[in-house]
């Protein structure tokens, strides 16, 4: 496997009047060609900011990438000039946002928005780009593509808009697509359609996918590898099957235990993670999960646990990870 993207010790902080918000605080991960990597976490854990950082789309001020390196396809993203990064965005790396309503321009036709990227990045003439746009719209399952090109985003349903976004992300043949909660705003049957489409197209065209989501089911169905984030850091990482079968961080374990499951009959009570996620502008020195953790020991408050291997490619950032692994092995 060829490494496509490598992020090392990335720190993206927001300098606000209320203090420094460490939205992303030292994360490292990599993505190989053609694979699907999921970033899971709850709102405010820094998963979207980490993805936007890859494309340098962090609004500055107040945000800034203060540390770290991002290497994509041999290029150092952080040292590129504004012109150079513009050639990467939408060309080599495509992006699909959560809100198909707000990420398309409401006053431009679908056709114009699709062809614009191809004219810019691939140097196609307008008729050529139009032909290609029709092809891609058909590929993402939009009927009567010629007519759709002349329509505006408000003519389309949410699912259709997300298909347009996928066509737009794919049309320049990128190596990587970042999908930030691509189906959260959609109904379940449409969600299934869109995710299946993304999976099939990414396999066929050998595009790597970073899926950012809070939905553990979506991760289980589509991801090869998983990064679990909490309070700006990756707290567990590994092959999807490993993570679900043998969670080795109390947060991952808690998440998996707290979700009701479609395939299991009613239980008496769910086993929730008590408390709230922490305020990212007021993080203490140790592990950020302590106030909600059932396994916390004294050491957790003093030293942040490093992300270390539990078993092969399975990593966890917890001082008690080996104990947790034994626990979940016994449970399974």
């Amino acid at each position: 496997m060829v490494q496509l993207l490598r992020i090392e010790n990335l720190c993206t902080h927001f300098f606000t009047s209320a203090g420094v918000v460490k939205a992303v605080d030292g994360i490292s991960y990599d993505v190989e060609e053609g694979e699907t990597v999921a970033i899971v976490g709850e709102s405010g854990c820094g998963k979207s900011v980490s993805a936007l950082s890859i494309l340098r789309l962090i609004p500055n001020p107040p945000g800034r990438i203060v540390q770290g390196s991002i290497r994509f396809n041999g290029q150092d993203i952080l040292s590129l000039s504004d012109d150079e990064i513009r050639k990467v965005r939408g060309h080599k790396i495509g992006m699909i946002f959560q809100e198909p309503m707000t990420s398309l321009n409401p006053v431009l036709t679908i056709g114009l928005q699709l062809t614009e990227t191809m004219e810019l990045h691939l140097g196609l003439s307008r008729p050529e780009a139009g032909k290609r746009a029709v092809e891609y719209l058909r590929m993402v399952g939009i009927s009567e593509p010629e007519r759709r090109l002349r329509q505006y985003p408000h003519h389309l349903s949410g699912g259709m808009r997300q298909r347009v976004m996928i066509a737009m992300a794919l049309c320049c043949e990128p190596k990587l697509i970042i999908a930030d909660e691509p189906t959260t705003a959609l109904d379940v049957t449409i969600q299934a359609q869109i995710l299946e489409l993304m999976k099939n197209l990414s396999r066929r065209m050998r595009v790597a996918l970073i899926i950012i989501t809070h939905n553990l089911g979506v991760v289980a169905r589509y991801a090869d590898r998983v990064n679990v984030m909490y309070a700006g850091r990756i707290i567990e990482r590994g092959p999807a099957r490993e993570i679900y079968a043998r969670p080795s961080h109390p947060y991952t374990l808690g998440l998996l235990r707290s979700v009701p499951r479609l395939d299991r009959p009613r239980r008496e009570r769910l086993d929730p993670i008590e408390g709230q996620p922490p305020d990212l502008s007021r993080l203490a020195a140790g592990c950020a999960f302590i106030p909600r953790c059932r396994f916390a020991v004294e050491r957790c408050g003093a030293e942040y646990p490093p992300l270390e291997s539990v078993e092969g490619a399975h990593y966890a950032a917890c001082w008690k990870k080996d104990e947790l692994l034994r626990l979940s092995v016994r449970a399974s």
Binding site: E42, S43, S157, G159, M160, D187, V188, T189, I190, Q191, A192, Q193, E196, H214, N215, L216, G217, V218, V219, A220, R221, Y222, A240, R241, Y244, A245, G254, L255, L256, S258, V259, P260, R261, L262, D263, R264, P265, R266, R267, R269, L270, D271, P272, I273, E274, Q276, P277
Partner: protein
């Protein structure tokens, strides 16, 4: 309408009639919204049939789940039951009284007994009021308890029941997290000691780890106060955990209704099957062995719904008859109702 099964006899043991502990019965409920065009001379040009002939009953202490995708009419059904929307047709019988025939003044006494928890904890609390005042307001309106001290005492009690500290009474909504706000919404709903709660997507706006807290709270409260819930949701996993019976809606109609486990383990209607198959299970091992029944197409517009069975354009089982004939809900096994001729 062929789907108007309000006149049908109540057949089975699991569908118990009044006197068998039925708290709420909905018969042939319809809500149509006119689409009005014109500025000076207004004219109704079309109607949206948001709810089109829905019947079900809920027993005391039971939780009925109402599931479906956006626009299927589940929220409108809830609002019609609460008489926040007056139904176009049909009856809403609560404790033996048809609420849809009552006037505003007469409804007042009934409103106390049925409350609602809304989806969005951000927009359902007045940002200019303190939490204590928000919870106290319904008590103040009804004068129950009549004295301010008694009401404040009750606010404290409700806060603690919902897992919030008494100090929270002096805070404003913006100082709280989503989960805490939803607890406030629940405390406010409980202020009038209701018998029946409509929970309209109460956990959809919350994070996964917070969802479980609220789901547990709702279940504890149901047991402690003997509440009855209509639980409206699109998250089928939460519904499986919380509900005793489930009704699946599609484009204004109920397509399947059954006991919870029966519905999840043996879904019969093709729409229910597709819906369940679309929900991913958080376990790669299970996911790997699952066959996916993705249905094509999208939910049609309720302004101009398909003829016959509204699901037929997307249905894998559809036959010619489905285009003309509207299937009635029929009981295929005890308590398991399906509106499909092909199963």
């Amino acid at each position: 309408m062929a789907t108007d099964f309000s006149t049908r006899a109540r057949p089975s043991a699991s569908w118990k009639g009044e006197g068998d502990g039925v708290l709420l019965e909905v018969k042939g409920l319809k809500k149509h919204f006119p689409i009005v065009e014109g500025v000076l001379v207004q004219k109704a040009t079309a109607t949206v049939k948001a709810v089109d002939g829905v019947s079900f009953s809920i027993r005391k202490g039971e939780t009925l789940g109402l599931v479906g995708e956006s626009g299927c009419g589940k929220t409108t059904t809830g609002r019609c039951i609460l008489q926040l929307e007056r139904p176009t047709a049909g009856e809403v019988i609560f404790e033996g009284v048809d609420l849809s025939s009552l006037g505003h003044k007469e409804l007042r006494t009934w409103r106390r007994k049925m409350q609602v928890i809304f989806q969005d904890p951000y927009s359902s609390l007045n940002p200019r009021m303190k939490i204590g005042d928000i919870i106290e307001e319904p008590m103040y309106v009804y004068g129950l308890p009549p004295d301010a001290r008694g009401r404040r005492e009750r606010v404290r009690e409700l806060l603690s029941v919902c897992g919030l500290g008494a100090r929270m009474a002096d805070r404003y909504p913006h100082e709280m997290s989503g989960g805490q706000r939803q607890r406030v919404g629940i405390a406010r709903a409980l202020a009038m000691k209701p018998d029946f709660l409509v929970c309209d997507e109460p956990v959809s706006a919350l994070d996964v780890s917070i969802q479980a807290q609220i789901v547990n709270l709702l279940e504890d409260l149901r047991q402690e106060f003997g509440l009855t819930y209509l639980f409206i949701a699109h998250d089928l996993s939460v519904v499986r955990h919380l509900c005793h019976r489930v009704a699946v809606m599609y484009l204004g109609r109920i397509v399947e209704m059954a006991d919870c486990d029966a519905l999840y383990e043996n879904p019969r209607h093709p729409y229910t099957r597709a819906l369940l198959s679309a929900v991913p299970v958080p376990d790669p091992e299970v996911e790997h062995g699952r066959s996916l029944e993705v249905i094509a197409g999208e939910v049609p517009s309720p302004i101009n719904p398909p003829s016959g069975c509204v699901f037929h354009p997307r249905c894998p089982l559809a036959v010619d008859g489905c285009k003309t004939h509207i299937p009635a809900l029929r009981e295929i096994t005890l308590g398991h109702w399906v509106a499909c001729t092909e199963v």
